[in-house]
Amino acid sequence: MPAPLLEARALTKRFPGVTALSNVAFDLRAGEIHALCGENGAGKSTLIKLLAGIHPHGSYAGELHVDGRPAAFRSIRDAEAAGIAVITQEFALVDELSVAENIFLGRAPRRGVRVDWLEMNRRAAALLADFGLAINPETPVRELGIGQKQLVEVVRAMDKESRVLVLDEPTAALTEQEVAVLLDHLRRLRAQGTACIYISHKLDEVFAIADRITVLRDGASITTLATRDATVPLVIKHMVGREIADMFPKRWSALTPTRFPASHPAQRVGVNALHPLRVSHLSVAPEAGSPPFLRDISFELRPGEVLGFGGLMGAGRTELLMHLFGAWGHRTSGDVQLCARAHNSATPRESIARGLVLVTEDRKRHGLVPGQPIGFNLSLSSLRQFTRTGRLDLPAEHVRNQRLFDSLRIKAPDQHARVGGLSGGNQQKVVLGKALMTGPTVVLLDEPTRGIDVGAKLEVYELINRLTAEGKAVLLVSSELPELMGMSDRIIMLHEGGVGGEFARAEFSQEKLLAAAMGHARAA
């Protein structure tokens, strides 16, 4: 049996505070399509980045072999020279250039010092025709649909004489018809001997096209199956088959009020208190005039409750929170009631004033002013509390900041340290602190523990419990099922912008949740 085209042996990759890959084994044979499956954060993207030379040789442990010989990619260029082309979720096409220019980007045919436009367009036309694509090579890429862009990327990769094509979620944005076209092309390439690594959350596609399936979980390669021996439930089982680590602090659930001691603050709020947030038949489009992305979402949130929202990448979780906060989308129908008042077409400013805050997923981009001190960031949303006749009461602000700084146990010399220099976990505490200082009734948390170490995670969980104990309602979005199951009273799984399933605590199981997220609510 010939050596595999590409082989990974005992790959281990660590980032500060987290092991992204541990001891991963993976091999790819010539002329096969090999699917990689795993939950968000299982290590798929990291593995690809190693194969593509984005994480260079030396930044990881273990070996890569190409054609049985050890390979040491120091850059993307090295990987490309070995015939490995990666097509990522974010398009690497330049919108303003033509299709032909994109295909030959950086290696345009030349005549002397000038670009040979005729030759370039002729060759591009031939390549496109080969793929059966009716695209004029002189069309600017921005005029193409997403599906066509994806195919142009494939054409570009193939013209670089790639032997290994890596596709990361290639169909996330495609219509069914475009998916069919793409899969046809991949089958054709396979017949010509090209090998392909195919990453997709859509198990239907995986089963339709892959020869073998490798499942990753928590950075480890769990198993490699021949597709003909596998079933959807089996793959899902391997994807989630892990014990829920005993790291979620015990909490009182507002949904079982009898368990509250008489002194518990939730009693004071009263279990029959108004629903702080009630969403009915909400549909939201990215902008006015486009078709809705979030479709017919209904739920209500009770005081002291944590309602979890799960779903795959792109299922609409972040968009839902951003919309409720007033920072995203155009509502096409539906109604949102915040503390029994209509909460429509609000701005973030109005949302905060009415007691609804959002802790964003991308804290560097959306949450913090990195060049400013911790205190500046903590009080940024709450300056009104310290304003007397137009003037800031700086000592009062300082004292309030200090209290929060201490209670959140932010690790920094003092509250004057710049936020940009803090670790991820401490930055997250600052973002949380900023939200809490506004005195909210409803707290929307989007991936509050992403990229922070275990200790900081635990502190975030304790903070969530403190919030619910005070009778605040929490909407928690997380990609990590164990976290979602450990912290939520109820979970709603989103699937492609709609509700894929709702589960009470007694019904929680990773299989059921993941199946609902994949639109297979009945499969598990």
Binding site: L380, G390, R391, K434
Partner: protein
């Protein structure tokens, strides 16, 4: 730590070096007469730079201020000289025009999402054209006949000696009260209070500097009125940036606009507010500059936008927003003014003046990058 110390001392050192260089070449540079003139020029540049500072803090820019200075001064001059208005009425009318123009530009920038660079570049050209239309390409004096008025006295009035000293003493007293109240407030919140000895020493040094400065001015004609305009502007901008939510929001918007929106800041309103304040600074500067030239002519305000931006940048204000201090801007304006004034005193040719100003600006930014974090 050393780099930070060097950075904090860089501006005083640069200023001292410039002053020493010119004083050696021409001892009159540090004489009361020249210092007084320098301070009037400094007041003009500094007032405009303080307005620009508010705009730069948010990460925006305003290229139209030079033309605006000419236009506002020109309108007031025409109303006084040709229409026979009283100076306060003419200045109020011109002031209102400035506010309208800057509200308009601010609204265009935030509502239509046109980059401020483009809007204010358009403003630069349009205001210049309007300016020349208003004064009809001629020279319009700020006084009718030889009756002095508020407008003309803006840069030629000096406080009587005893009044200047009394004012200096009063300012020192106010500073003492403010410092004492701040200490009391901190103590009331059980915050650390710096040792009283150091605070008193600091106050004595500041008070001595203020009173001493007044005495130096008194050696010539007295404290110039224009310096009071600058001092008032600086105090207002300092209060605004350090003691109000509005000031915090300026820094937040410049530091991360997306985060500012999601933190519940009414970003558009704050930005328009910054442009309105820029309009106020333009009007004040327009009156002072025109008065300083004695008349409104087509060249009044030329390139002043660049001096204002340069003063801010030399003073450590980041062009991409979110960083800068009032003290830095004051020092930056002083450095720019001292340089120009000194070169004029030495009768340096205009060609070399341009080159020297450009070189200092470039050097300052380079040092800022080198010594920066």
């Amino acid at each position: 730590m050393n780099a930070r110390l060097l950075k904090n001392l860089a501006m005083p050192i640069a200023l001292a070096a410039i002053a020493a260089f010119f004083a050696v070449k021409e001892p009159a540079f540090l004489g009361p007469r020249n210092l007084t003139q320098l301070v009037v020029e400094f007041s003009i540049t500094g007032t405009l730079a303080l307005g620009m500072f508010l705009i730069l803090l948010t990460g925006q820019i305003d290229l139209s201020v030079g033309s605006g200075v000419g236009l506002v001064g020109g309108i007031a001059a025409v109303l006084v000289f040709q229409q026979g208005w009283s100076a306060p009425a003419a200045m109020s009318a011109a002031f209102a025009v400035a506010l309208v123009l800057w509200v308009l530009m601010g609204a265009l920038i935030v509502r239509q999402r046109i980059p401020s660079f483009i809007i204010t570049l358009g403003g630069l050209l349009i205001f210049k054209g309007l300016f020349w239309l208003v004064i009809q390409n001629s020279t319009v004096p700020v006084v009718r006949g030889d009756q002095e008025n508020l407008y003309s006295r803006l840069t030629t009035y000096y406080l009587p000696a005893h009044f200047g000293l009394a004012l200096a003493a009063a300012i020192a007293a106010v500073l003492a009260v403010l410092a004492w109240r701040s200490r009391a407030a901190r103590a009331a919140h059980r915050l650390a209070v710096p040792p009283a000895g150091r605070a008193i020493a600091q106050w004595i040094a500041t008070a001595a500097a203020i009173v001493g400065l007044a005495a130096v001015f008194n050696a010539f004609r007295g404290v110039p009125l224009s310096l009071l305009v600058l001092a008032g502007t600086a105090a207002a901008v300092y209060f605004l940036t350090q003691h109000t939510p509005f000031g915090r929001y300026l820094y937040a918007i410049g530091g991360n606009e997306e985060a500012a929106v999601l933190s519940g800041i009414a970003v558009n309103r704050v930005l328009v507010g910054a442009y309105v304040l820029m309009g106020v600074a333009v009007a004040l500067t327009g009156f002072m500059t025109t008065a300083y030239s004695g008349a409104s002519t087509t060249t009044v305000g030329d390139l002043m936008e660049l001096d204002a931006i340069a003063a801010c940048v030399i003073g450590g204000t980041a062009l991409k927003g979110g960083r800068g201090t009032v003290w830095g801007v004051i020092f930056g304006a002083l450095i720019m003014t001292a340089l120009l004034n000194g070169m004029t005193l030495l009768a340096v040719s205009p060609e070399i003046k341009f080159i020297a100003r450009g070189a200092v600006l470039t050097l300052a930014v380079w040092m800022d990058v080198k010594l920066g974090r």
